[in-house]
Symmetry: C2
Subunit: 303 residues, 2 copies
Amino acid sequence: MTLQELRYVVALADAGHFGHAAEACFVSQSTLSTQIKKLEDYLGVALFDRSLKTVTLTPAGREIVDSARHIIEEANRICEFSKQTRDPMVRSVHLGVIPTLGPYYLPHALPLVHEQFPKLRLLLREEMTPHVLAHLNEGKLDAGLLALPLPDDNPAMETVPLFSEPFFAAVPADHPLAAKQEIHIDELVHAGLFLLEEGHCLRKQALEACQLEGLDNEEIRATSLETLRQMVGMGLGVTLIPALAGMQSHDVGTRVALRPLASPGASRIIGLIWRKRSPVAPTMEALAKFLKNKLPPGTSEQN
Amino acid sequence: MTLQELRYVVALADAGHFGHAAEACFVSQSTLSTQIKKLEDYLGVALFDRSLKTVTLTPAGREIVDSARHIIEEANRICEFSKQTRDPMVRSVHLGVIPTLGPYYLPHALPLVHEQFPKLRLLLREEMTPHVLAHLNEGKLDAGLLALPLPDDNPAMETVPLFSEPFFAAVPADHPLAAKQEIHIDELVHAGLFLLEEGHCLRKQALEACQLEGLDNEEIRATSLETLRQMVGMGLGVTLIPALAGMQSHDVGTRVALRPLASPGASRIIGLIWRKRSPVAPTMEALAKFLKNKLPPGTSEQN
DNA sequence: TAAAAATACTCCATAGGTATTTTAT
DNA sequence: ATAAAATACCTATGGAGTATTTTTA
């Protein structure tokens, strides 16, 4: 039994005439005749009564045409649905975002994305890098927005850098360092540098970016960038803050001063990641390309 | 899009594994792979996510597999229904029967038919020959049970004789003719032969069977065999009655005597008729064959 | 005679097979 | 190294065509 055969049967039931039905199906009369007969033979049931002036359905044929109509209707629904889904930018994407980036980058990025791809539903989830990677592997996430490079280079994953985000020194507003135009790493270390707790990739990135291997003050750590900033404001020490998070603190508090670092290239790379052969791949490629062209202020492009 | 492709998609959705799904469909893994891919290309939508350990449905795939399941279910219903309908003796047949035969033959035939073909539903309709033929042509009847030969020899119709039904003379019990073993036609005519009214084929058949061309007493006619018999019983004249109708009168009334006719072959042929290429043809052929082997008493076979 | 459906015959697209390569574990 | 899926290539079935015959009105 074929979908096509069923279409022919329905057409013939509607037309009551082999020639007209064939025309409606854009095939020759002979093709229609043959296919109808084939289906009748296959089913072992006469569907049409050809002995009357006009070709008529048998009682059995009536039943079967009813079913055939449902089938064809449902098949058309599949085609219709597919046509709507065909655009890679019309779909949902479960996106994991690291906490040191999401609150600062997404307010910039999401409106632009929504304007460009209105049918793209980004279902966001704020998670630290290892969880993003694990959930990606499990299929609980479709893609991740995080800092590169990643610890283990998974060949099944596609990673695309979006931009480079420099680190800034964050010092108390009344601290002597706040008077300088730019600050050296060792000045920060002397002033009591502390960072986020383990687990946040930001910690490692900051250390690497400044070519440090570790810190003395292992006791003082914060659990979020906001806490970190609060602690600096209270004069507990100094820290490194990524540019995007820093931008926002201008408005919020004046008790913390942000200064560029003297050391060049003290920055982290922000990128997208997804499973190479995942169905979201086309979506993510387009999204990455778009985002690379919409750098948030304070960042620079990265290939 | 093919039914087979949809079956493969459903199988793969269930198995989550190309090899296992292929096995379940009794095809090679390569065939399944190719066909799935073909459907995905046709729809322009990825149905499966092959980037995870176990092959998983995409959101779009889930929707489409749902529809595919319905389609396959309905297709199976068609096959199932056909399997039940395949037997030509499992169906309804609209059968037209002439009034001078139905009440006398069917009580004999129907129980036998029902015993042999329990699933055969004979939907009976008592009509005179011209109406049976007209309704056959219009498709309102599937077949007819009537007397042969027919006035116009329609080549689209198949007619099969079942048996030959002799005519009997019916005379009042106290009539002189009742004393004879068998009666000659001319004796009957002299005694005042009258018949059924026009419209009933029986009239013409009786005249032909007795090689008569007409009757004098055009005023006296009956509208049914029962009336006819009543009229004979009242001494209004004599008549011809077909054997099967006569058999029953033995029990009913004793005021009418039945006697065989001297003229040989004074009989009518009872047969079945249906449209040659109608779907009931196989049913009717089998039915005719069966009935020819179950002659009612008082009749003889006829080829 | 004309029109409709069935049939005969041909062609080529493709479902399905085997063998192999690529990819992931 | 193993297993799974994709790919390459081949074959044969059968869908669709044209031309013709059969059948019915």
